[in-house]
């Protein structure tokens, strides 16, 4: 514990308050105008561009079908808001099931991928042995095969395992595109952690595994959370495997279920589609905001937990 704090700075006692408000230290000498130009204006611009499509989707989801096609007055506002589409989505489709399936698959496959890639990332970034380079390279190279065709041979494997129409088909295949990604991501983070920290622990009699579990992994928490975020999001949005491997409406995931049941031939039901898009993303975004906060504070937390 003492050792870990000392890694942040030679003087843990002094470090405490500074870590807590590091960037505020900078802000002391700033005037509001400086901060506005440096932070608020670019931030607002980014927010506007990022959020406009969401505003549009939200507005669309409250419009009746005929108002949707009416551009004679401002399309940016809704005159007669209706909850019809949300109601329809939640009661007449299997959306709640899809949401549950999507969350289940995303969480389990993310956990599996993280378990594998934390170990693999540590091994490839930290340990020296014959073939590490080529294995790291090999893990990555498989990534270069585009999924637009990879799904065909993969269906053989799924068939042989009798996993068609089963959420396990997704839980087991999603790691194939999550692991290479997370492993490499974490390799980057493990490399960023000074080697001396672990060597010091080894000198103090810790085993290699202890050094990994107690020093390297806690220090890489921001990286692990970032990897988790990506993995979760990629699974949450995955479309192709979910389309191919699942058949029954009750086992489908959001992206596939929504498009299959809300797009009828050449007529789109925009209100419902957009309602589904929002319901499928905003709760996750809220969840994320807590996670991001946690890992932005990750270093401080990691140092304290030691």
């Amino acid at each position: 514990m003492a050792m870990q704090s000392s890694t942040r700075s030679g003087q843990p006692a002094v470090l405490g308050p500074r870590v807590r408000k590091p960037r505020n230290g900078r802000a002391i000498g700033d005037r509001f105008v400086g901060r506005a130009i440096r932070i608020y204006i670019p931030l607002l611009a980014l927010l506007a561009v990022t959020l406009f499509p969401f505003y549009w989707m939200a507005i669309t989801s409250f419009k009746s079908a005929s108002e949707l096609f009416d551009f004679s007055v401002s399309p940016l506002w809704v005159r007669e808001p209706t909850l019809f589409w949300y109601q329809d989505l939640l009661t007449k489709t299997n959306f709640p099931h899809w949401a549950f399936n999507t969350a289940l698959v995303a969480i389990v496959s993310t956990l599996i991928s993280l378990f594998c890639s934390v170990l693999a990332g540590y091994s490839l970034a930290r340990l020296r042995y014959r073939g590490a380079d080529s294995i790291g390279w090999g893990i990555f190279v498989t990534y270069l095969v585009p999924p637009t065709l990879l799904f065909l041979p993969l269906t053989f494997v799924i068939r042989e395992l009798h996993l068609f129409n089963n959420l396990w088909s997704l839980i087991l295949t999603y790691p194939t595109f999550l692991i290479p990604f997370c492993t490499w991501m974490l390799m980057g983070f493990f490399k960023g952690i000074p080697r001396e920290l672990e060597e010091a622990a080894l000198v103090d009699g810790a085993t290699r595994i202890q050094a990994m579990l107690r020093i390297a992994i806690p220090l890489a928490v921001p990286g692990i959370l970032a990897a988790a975020l990506f993995a979760f999001t990629l699974s949450w949005n995955e479309f192709l495997y979910s389309l191919i491997f699942l058949n029954d409406s009750l086992v489908k995931t959001i992206p596939v279920g929504v498009t299959q049941e809300l797009i009828h031939g050449d007529e789109f039901f925009w209100g419902e589609l957009m309602a589904a898009a929002l319901l499928g993303s905003v709760p996750v975004a809220v969840l994320y905001s807590f996670f991001v906060d946690y890992f932005v504070a990750g270093m401080t937390a990691g140092a304290v937990k030691g």
Binding site: F151, L152, F156, E160, H264
Partner: protein, 451 residues
Amino acid sequence: MAQSSKRAKSGWSRRKFLQTAGVAVATIAFPEIIISCGPQSNPTPAAVIPKARKGASIRLLQWTSFVKQADDEFKRQAAEWGAANGVTVAIETVTGDQLQPKTAAAVEASSGPDIIQMQYAWPQLYTNSCVDLTNDVNILIGKLGKPDPVNEAYCKVDGVWRAMPYTIVPNAWSYRTDYFGQAGVSSFPATWDEFTIAAGKLKTTGKPISQTDGHAYGDSLTMWNPVLWGFGGKEVNADGKTVAINSQETRNAIKWAQGAVKAGFVVHPEWLDPDNNQAYHADRISATLNGASIYIREKVEFHHYTDVTNNAPMPSGPKGTFAMNLIFNHAVMKWSPDVETARAMLLHLMDKDQYMKWTTIAGGYNAGPFDAFHNDPVFTTDPKLKAFQDVIAPGKWPGWPAAPSKKTAQSQTQFIVADMFAKALANGGTGDIEAAVAAAETSLKAIFERP
């Protein structure tokens, strides 16, 4: 006698099938394939009605129809039949875009739904995965009369019915009678030349006649193939080998299109299938070529322009009247453990009374693919729907006059004909005709001359 010839035939198909399976097994070493072909290897005597096996389960995969109620009715009928015969039936509907990769995956894995909807030339693409349905189609022909020639061209591969004709989604022009009246056009043009004149007049109303020339799965094919044929152009000769796009007739068709665009016909290379529907519902255009979905949705849901909407068949070119419609058929897949049950179910769904119940609910979006359906009252109770029946007879398939094949499927899905027109119609109809024809010829040669 009939018995023995039938046996010879199924022997042939069985041998061919085992060959294929053998190759597959040798390469992939998945012996299940042989087991899955069990039911097919019992030759059924000619014109014997297939029986459902109690306890079987049948999964059918097809696209999500525009008319939700029609999908519901289809599912209801299937479930009703399932309950009566002790069969578990599951109907899965997916969008058109999704049906293709799902089918491809099933074919590659030799596993999946028992029945799959075949769109256009899929029986040609997946011939070896589709069970011979000759016996069952013959039963239907006995009851319902001659099948529609386009469905037949698609379903019958090398003389064997690989799919059962299911439906036609006719494509005709939906147009606004009020704007046409304003522009002084009394009826929808009957020829492409009149079409140009009408487009010029409609331009003055601010609501043009519009259509896609982009990569729309349905609408750009149903538009530009008939135009090409109407002026005598064709992609390939009837032999299905010799590329024939580089002709004066093709140039005439393109020149007509350029003239129409210069006059006021608006083409949208960015439009996909839903876009013209939306533009029509939003009162932005006065006419567009589409399935009956625009008219039906106006009639059933929006009620804005129902009274001022009418429908008209395809105009004629100097070489005749042509149309193209969406053609869907059902194939029973060879990996199904209950091929006979699947065939029995399809036959039941094609039963005249059942089928007409379904087309009635589809409200004119679907037409039956046999003679018996030609007097389907759904197209006469609302006279405005008659146009959708009129486009069935002049209907052809992409690649015509060549028979449907893998090659025609490739040229269709690469949008070669539509792209040729789109290139020539760029910048207000002033694109380079020669360059457009040359590019189409290169692409077509790549397809048809590929071994």
